[in-house]
Symmetry: C2
Subunit: 165 residues, 2 copies
Amino acid sequence: MSQLYFIRHGIAADREHFEHDFDRPLTDHGIAKTSQIAQRLAALGLCFDRILTSPLVRAQQTAELLRVAGLCGVIEELSALAPGGEVEALAAWWSEFTRGEASPTIAIVGHQPDLGLWAEWLLWGQPLEKLIVKKAGIIGLEVPAKGLACGTCELFWLTPPRFLI
Amino acid sequence: MSQLYFIRHGIAADREHFEHDFDRPLTDHGIAKTSQIAQRLAALGLCFDRILTSPLVRAQQTAELLRVAGLCGVIEELSALAPGGEVEALAAWWSEFTRGEASPTIAIVGHQPDLGLWAEWLLWGQPLEKLIVKKAGIIGLEVPAKGLACGTCELFWLTPPRFLI
């Protein structure tokens, strides 16, 4: 059974201070808290075959904190993980990746509401915005061998950061 | 916003050693692990206005371990929480209870697959068996002021015990 983790980026700087939403970095508090979460995930024994991240700065920084904590050595950027991206592009990436990996464990660093909507699509086949995903919050999905498709997954974890640190 | 926690009973003795499923107690390992979970929940600051439990021995013992950890002083037995019970009976209890409590935090100790199915009914309006709820695992739902009804809730937590201890 493959596992897919959706990890929302940490707390980022306010929009008013940046011309482009793309450039907003994590705040110092966001870095500290996300780093704590990353270390806790490592202590729990988690290990990813690949970290896929949205190209936005706050997501890339979050992915880097996961790498530094020892959760994975390889970070890959996927433009479809930017806000408003399509889950089908992620499914296509998965399909390509799993040709070489029998049952991978993959972490996706991205944004809300996309992560929650994608998880619901993968679980129940329709996004109803019923999952509460806080910044640095995590969703854990089990993915069957037949792949990442509408209504194929099961949910084994959804946690706000406050229950991890 | 009210909160509803579904907590599955801990690891119980094998069926073959008991004539009636009702009587199966937690094993020593089940008691130790469930007690650890209860203490962790208390350390996280959780506190329940009421613990409702299935009448089965393994559920009652789990509820008692939650009480001993300081999570709640009052345990109430509800026959509808026994295996195969109806979520509508729980909704009726909620409706009655919330007449006196504006936004309570309630813990329900029960069984699978019922807890997962009830949660899905409360979230998405239909049970599709997509939630993986391990023994001593926890589901956390936010319940709106209008009450506990089909498709009214949001999910903020689902955790297996291994991510808590």
